[in-house]
């Protein structure tokens, strides 16, 4: 393992300190428990939008803290959910009088810890709701698993609901919009290499030079199938097909296409893949109206990518277009 770190035990804290130094106008950082909070929080009269989860997916979530997106992010250890007291601290720190909405990726640890925090905050009289993101079509949703994982779609939920909160929409409205986005977003990922967790020192899994793993999550967990590596055209088609079939997305639909790098796949490859996805969608008559390309939901230093499709309507499109000012996303 070669990483630019001092000590695996301090990786998260060091990154938070660096973030605070890099973006003093956007955010402030707390330690013990670790929190990333909007510089101007609490924002009076506006719903607090809070997300979080294990670290290692940067810029998710801290990179999305700022005007028009998250009010606070709660980072746990690498690939490990934060505990409820950290989430409660974020709720308390951003308490604005308009309530709080928690955006939670569907992993057992995240769901248990965030929902427990919401319940505890409720006992203290706070109005807190939670929305679970489960956009990964690779996982068969059944009674035999913990259900579909939350992956790239989380970024879109945070941007769109963040805009609604910034407009001053009520907690009920923000929650309803979040649920609508979750219902209309689907993702699928592929890995060319496994990620290396700093304290583990070696990759979570290894793939041969001629192999790729389709349907991976964002923690180095195994995917749906291990297949022979192929050219970009075939790889992108294998990601797109299961997404299109799942909702399904049909001819005439307006969509947002989000082409995401898992951390180590460079933009030159990502743009190539995005172009292929655009062409395949055009061939099916699915109209790409909005785009996002870049490393926004990563898995440390994993080579790979994911595609996310969101079915658009007028309201969601307008909220997507609203201004945003965060470390990782701004327009």
């Amino acid at each position: 393992m070669k990483k630019i770190i001092n000590d695996p035990a301090t990786v998260v804290a060091d990154a938070l300190n660096g973030m605070a130094a890099a973006h003093p106008e956007l955010l402030r950082v707390r330690t013990d428990p670790a929190l990333i909070v909007r510089a101007d929080a609490p924002v009076t009269g506006k719903v607090a939008l809070i997300s979080g989860g294990g670290s290692g997916h940067e810029p998710l979530h801290g990179g999305f803290v700022g005007a028009g997106m998250l009010t606070a992010a709660v980072p746990g250890a690498v690939f490990t959910s934060p505990t409820p007291d950290a989430v409660q601290a974020a709720i308390a720190e951003t308490e604005s009088g308009a309530g709080a909405l928690l955006v939670v990726k569907n992993y057992t640890g995240d769901v248990l810890n965030f929902e427990t925090a919401a319940e505890l905050a409720g006992l203290e009289g706070a109005d807190v709701r939670a929305v679970i993101v489960d956009d990964d079509v690779a996982v068969k949703d059944s009674t035999h698993t913990a259900g579909r994982r939350g992956v790239g779609g989380t970024v879109l939920v945070e941007k769109i609901v963040g805009a609604a909160a910034e407009r001053g929409e009520s907690l009920e409205r923000c929650e309803a919009i979040a649920r609508r986005v979750v219902a209309q977003v689907r993702s699928m990922g592929v890995a060319l290499t496994g990620p290396t967790v700093p304290h583990a020192g070696e990759p979570s899994f290894t793939l041969g030079e001629d192999e790729m793993e389709i349907g991976i999550g964002i923690h180095g967990e195994p995917g749906r199938r291990r297949l022979p590596m192929e050219r970009a055209d075939g790889l992108v088609a294998k990601l797109l097909e299961p997404i299109l079939e799942d909702l399904p997305f049909a001819e005439g639909d307006d969509v947002l296409l989000f082409t995401n790098s898992m951390g180590a796949t460079p933009l030159i490859e990502l743009y190539g893949a995005h172009g292929i996805a655009e062409r395949l969608l055009a061939e099916r008559g699915v109209r790409v109206r909005r785009r996002l390309v870049g490393p926004f939901t990563t898995s440390l230093d994993m080579q790979g990518m994911s595609l996310t499709l969101l079915k658009l309507d007028d309201e969601i499109t307008e909220l997507w277009d609203d201004p945003v000012r965060t470390a990782a996303l701004r327009w």
Binding site: D85, T108, A146
Partner: protein, 210 residues
Amino acid sequence: MGCTATDMIGALHAGAATVSAHRDELIQLDRVIGDADHGENMDRGFRAVVAKLDTAVPETPGAVLKQVATTLISTVGGASGPLYGTAFLRAAAAVGDALELDGPAVAAALQAGLEGVVARGKAVAGDKTMVDALIPAVDAAKAAAADGAAPARVLALAAEAAHAGAEATEPLVARKGRASYLGDRSAGHVDPGARSTALLLSAFAESRSV
């Protein structure tokens, strides 16, 4: 003879001692089908519970339960922290401000705890989780309370049923949590959460003279 805040604090000290004594066993159980931290996490949590009870002494059973809940939630971590924490939290809500709990109140607290774990973790009977120990425990507690049993007897019968429930998880294939990824390989081992639930109930029951 009811269960007061003092009785409950005694029970929690006994629970912490039991968890500590069985720490390695719980780690072993979790090593084979989970991530080998259950004994460590539970021991850390219950050490914190008794440390907190030594510094802040709540005056009602409900206040004791709530303090235990918040301590477990902030110290255990993983999935067990929220699950055990929620069990104690819902039990606290169920007993309210009463100064002393009778048999039916103890049974109602156990039932509320079970409902909290199910609401949080979504597990059902047969999923190979702590719920497989709690369901029979609650059934036994309710039956005993309906027969007029005192809290000690209610807990003793609940503990007995919980141990039988925990043993019965051995042949099951896990459908929840990290063990569910093992599929058939999770069979042949007692679920660590079911085991710790049974151990705690035994300790609570044995700590009481009545």
